[in-house]
């Protein structure tokens, strides 16, 4: 089913919105050479055209509101509707970032209290809400680490250790900050190999970047020892908060020994993913690193909340204004709603759901690592690929025919033909049962009728997409037919 583009629906002269007429005299415009020369071709549509078009596009999309979305490492939990209401309040939606402090005390309180809550939840001292996404938060966290070492005359530290199972943005962020990467191996249990780590620790190491539980969904049991070793050589520990949903209220990165933490509010704290943003990637730090946090900070004085720009050691500004305010506002609403006991319940049920799925799938699929998992798990369909030619991608596409969003595929890289599932605590037992049964059925089908998977999706309006063609001959915009 082909849906026309806005440009293809355009009708010359059609208008979609009436602005109030101008009540001031019209005056002479810009000199000719500064004016726009040729008209930008933009669609001309009525309001109904636009509403119908996007409504149709929405029906060709998929969100958590429509079905289970068990993408590993993405924490696709339910986005509470309350948050949309709150974000639409005039006093939040329509305030200008550069208004006088006294006129935005409510907004400053949101920043202050959110920072305070996130610090308490992670066991850290304070933080910043300025980073605009998880990867941005990583970058900021590493910049802080760099500033810390530089200010102590230890700028020779130019390497960051990353496990080979790490997410692609970890090494990318590190190299953006000028660090080179050293990879540390994982052992047979899927955890950081301590002996291998010891070999790598010297005084050129600035930090180690870890997520705990790791990208395989396993808790790094030796984290205390890792922390001691890393601190012992003068380096710092960085926590990638992508998997925080596994340990809320159970264990805190600050207590594990981490010095810098970044969070993904659009994962753990239920803010909507929005099709790929806007998210928010706050960074929390231990007391020793507080001076390096981005400027400005928010402080509470006798006169109320104030911006604090006077921060000599700060790494500076990292985004245009104060971060994605409406996003962390939603996270704050979530924290207020769940509270200390609710956040713990979220992690408990996230683990319950993941382990339930794993235990029922174990007999049917290859599970590369141990008995139990945390909030997510990985299965490998390597043997399906070898024996029947059905790959992880095929399983993912076929799952769409059952009304579920596929899991993450081909990540982590160290597992061949990986499928990574993170059901989150939002899904009920019967939803999980449906997903489990669908997977088991697909496993059987792969053996007898592999084409059903290899040619999937069969029931969606658009069938298997030719991705290679898009990369070989990129068509990245609409062009009028000549």
């Amino acid at each position: 089913m082909k849906r026309k583009l806005l440009f293809e629906l355009s009708q010359e002269g059609r208008r979609g919105y009436k602005f109030p007429a101008s009540d001031v005299p019209s005056c002479e415009k810009l000199p000719q050479h500064l004016q726009r020369q040729t008209s930008p071709i933009l669609p001309e549509l009525s309001e109904l055209d636009v509403v119908r078009h996007y409504s149709a596009l929405a029906s060709l999309s998929f969100g958590v509101d429509l079905g289970a979305y068990p993408l590993g490492s993405c924490t696709m939990k339910y986005n509470p509707k309350l948050h949309n209401y709150v974000a639409a309040l005039e006093g939040f939606a329509n305030i200008h970032p550069l208004q006088d402090e006294k006129s935005v005390q409510g907004a400053l309180e949101v920043i202050y209290k959110t920072t305070e809550s996130l610090s308490a939840i992670t066991g850290m001292a304070w933080g910043t809400l300025q980073p605009l996404a998880g990867a941005h938060g990583e970058y900021v966290g590493l910049k802080i680490i760099r500033a810390y070492h530089t200010s102590r005359g230890e700028d020779h530290r130019n390497k960051v250790i990353v496990p080979i199972s790490a997410h692609g943005t970890n090494p990318a962020s590190a190299s953006m900050v000028g660090y080179s990467i050293v990879e540390v191996a994982t052992n047979a249990k899927g955890l950081v190999d301590i002996e291998a780590l010891k070999e790598l620790l010297d005084d050129d190491i600035a930090a180690i970047m870890l997520t705990n539980p790791n990208t395989l969904g396993l808790f790094e049991e030796d984290i205390a020892e890792i922390a001691t070793l890393v601190h012992g050589c003068g380096a710092l520990l960085y926590y990638d908060g992508a998997n925080l949903n596994a340990v809320l209220g159970i264990s805190r990165p600050g207590d594990m020994g981490f010095d810098v933490v970044h969070l993904n509010l659009h994962k753990t704290f239920a803010t909507p993913h929005g099709g790929g943003g806007p998210g928010s990637g706050p960074v929390l730090v231990k007391e020793a690193l507080r001076p390096y946090l981005p400027t400005p900070d928010v402080v509470l004085t006798e006169e109320g909340y104030c911006w604090d720009w006077d921060r000599e050691l700060s790494i500076g500004k990292v985004s245009g204004f104060w971060g994605n305010f409406l996003v962390y506002l939603k996270a704050y609403a979530y924290i207020l709603t769940m509270g200390r006991e609710g956040l713990k319940e979220a992690s408990i049920h996230a683990l319950l759901n993941a382990n339930y799925m794993l235990s029922r799938l174990r007999g049917h699929f290859n599970v590369p690592y141990q008995e139990r998992c945390m909030h997510e798990f990985v299965i490998s369909v390597h043997d399906f690929k070898e024996r029947y030619g059905v790959s992880a991608l095929d399983f993912a596409k076929a799952l769409q025919d059952y009304g579920y969003h596929p899991p993450t595929v081909y990540f982590p890289l160290i597992v061949s033909e990986a499928l990574m599932f993170e059901p989150t605590e939002s899904e009920s037992k019967e939803t999980l049962d449906g997903l489990i049964e669908a997977l088991i059925e697909l496993g059987e089908l792969a053996k007898t009728d592999g084409d059903r998977l290899k040619e999937a999706p069969l029931t969606r309006p658009i069938k298997r997409i030719d991705e290679a063609r898009a990369a070989k001959n990129p068509i990245l915009r609409w062009k009028p037919k000549e």
Partner: protein, 128 residues
């Protein structure tokens, strides 16, 4: 098991070098093309430019990943493989027959330091 011709020299960055008189042919290994998947675009250096060893000189892109190519030996670009322009997937077909670029005035010393087939093979084993 990846193909590792014994008459070539290799780098840990998965490039190969073949000498033909006073020219050096450079390409990527079978392991590299297999890991990348279907190659969709190759960015090659300008002819006439000189590059040091280990300097980033080219880019190979597949659907899923991009790989920077690090010049294995210092030299000046004499020619680039123009066939790759319309058919970058020639590299997937045969990554040894389809070179990326050719160097002249290269440092033989750099060439001597490269891995031979056996050493590269051993290295690949450590990556598994």
């Amino acid at each position: 098991m990846s193909n590792i011709p014994s008459n070539l020299k290799y780098t840990k960055e998965h490039e190969w070098v073949r000498l033909e008189g006073d020219l050096a042919y450079v390409g990527i290994t079978d392991y590299a093309q297999d890991t990348l998947g279907e190659i969709v675009y190759v960015e090659l250096p300008p002819v006439g430019e000189s590059y040091a060893a280990e300097e980033e000189i080219a880019n190979v892109e597949s659907v899923k990943a991009a790989s920077a190519i690090y010049n294995p030996i210092s030299g000046t670009v004499a020619e680039v493989n123009e066939e790759l322009d319309g058919s970058p997937d020639l590299i997937n077909e045969d990554s040894y027959a389809n070179h990326l670029y050719i160097l002249k005035e290269f440092y033989l010393d750099d060439y001597e330091l490269l891995l031979d087939g056996e050493a590269y093979g051993e290295y690949l084993k450590t990556l598994e």
